[in-house]
Symmetry: C2
DNA sequence: GTCTAAATACTCGGATACCCGCTGTCCGAGTGGTCCGGG
DNA sequence: CCCGGACCACTCGGACAGCGGGTATCCGAGTATTTAGAC
């Protein structure tokens, strides 16, 4: 059970767009070159972020991707759900109803499976922790360690006004 | 990103052994029949529980599996780690160091990646929630809804003293 | 009747194929910019 | 010089292969039981 590699790509790409702070779209080729990622596959991931309403995409010559919302309103949970889909980590196949044990347990299936409930509690804690952290929080934490990330990204993308 | 099916199998199997409450080992064929699971594959999963110290296995004619510890001391985290391995959900490939952005960010890599840290916080909340729930807790919750599970399991396994 | 020893049936354990989903890639649809010609 | 239209280059978007890990299975190693035979 490991997360898709695209989650890391998505977060870093969103962060770069946040640091850029520009209202102009950035093509996926530039974004991919920023971290040496396969351009076409990154595009595929960003499309899912568009579907989730985190990014906007503009076609055409001067097209590209840009943040659909300010970084303060984008949570890590939204990013993870956009890339991974909103399915739960633990899949309950209701095996308690099957086999010799399940056949004799009639009448106890009116409530949710206790295993599913317990796993769901843990998963909820995870999702809450993800929802409490916005892209701006991560950005601020990175800035605390490397204060010059804004200019670094602008320079790397060749869009610095300097 | 979805959890292995074996996790559900492992928890239910451990619960059945807890309800059985017997000091005698139960063969995997009986455990598999309890919930209509593929015998050989369930055996593979239980082997991992043995390696993790949650189960004991006895070979021979009267062999089988039995709980290595009381249900009160077995946490859901241990079960998940035993089946899924202890790798983290989020894999940090340190892409921040790569590409045009990474090349210009020299000097900012003395601390952990902020993305990794944030994801790690959420994952820690998940693991803590799993660690706080013991097998006995889940057992008690299931008993609250279906109070007769102990006898049900003993009957289903053909080991009832009655 | 009792002890011994071999045969046996049953168990776990690891080595071996299969299949779905993540990974990676390609080409087509669409749009804005650009250039050329005409007025 | 200004305007209009066609060409073009660049973008995103969805459709098409490749591979790794979860899924499923089979066969071999080992042990307690059983049973037959000898004393």
């Amino acid at each position: 059970m490991r997360m898709s590699r695209g989650v890391e790509w998505a977060v870093h790409t969103l962060l770069n767009l946040a640091w850029l702070g520009s209202g102009e779209p950035v093509p996926v080729a530039t974004l991919a070159a920023g971290h040496d990622l396969p351009r076409a596959y990154l595009n595929k991931q960003l499309q899912q972020l568009v579907k989730a309403g985190l990014l906007e995409s503009l076609p055409g010559t001067r097209g590209g991707f840009l943040l659909a919302r300010p970084a303060e309103s984008i949570t890590l949970l939204e990013v993870v759900d956009a890339i991974e889909g909103e399915s739960t980590l633990f899949r309950c196949a209701e095996i308690r109803q099957c086999g010799t044990v399940g056949a004799r347990s009639v009448g106890g299936f009116t409530t949710d499976c206790a295993v599913k409930t317990s796993m769901g509690r843990a998963e909820l804690a995870w999702r809450n922790a993800l929802a409490e952290q916005t892209l701006a929080d991560v950005q601020a934490e990175a800035d605390a360690h490397a204060p010059d990330m804004g200019r670094t990204v602008r320079t790397a993308f060749g869009l610095d006004r300097q």
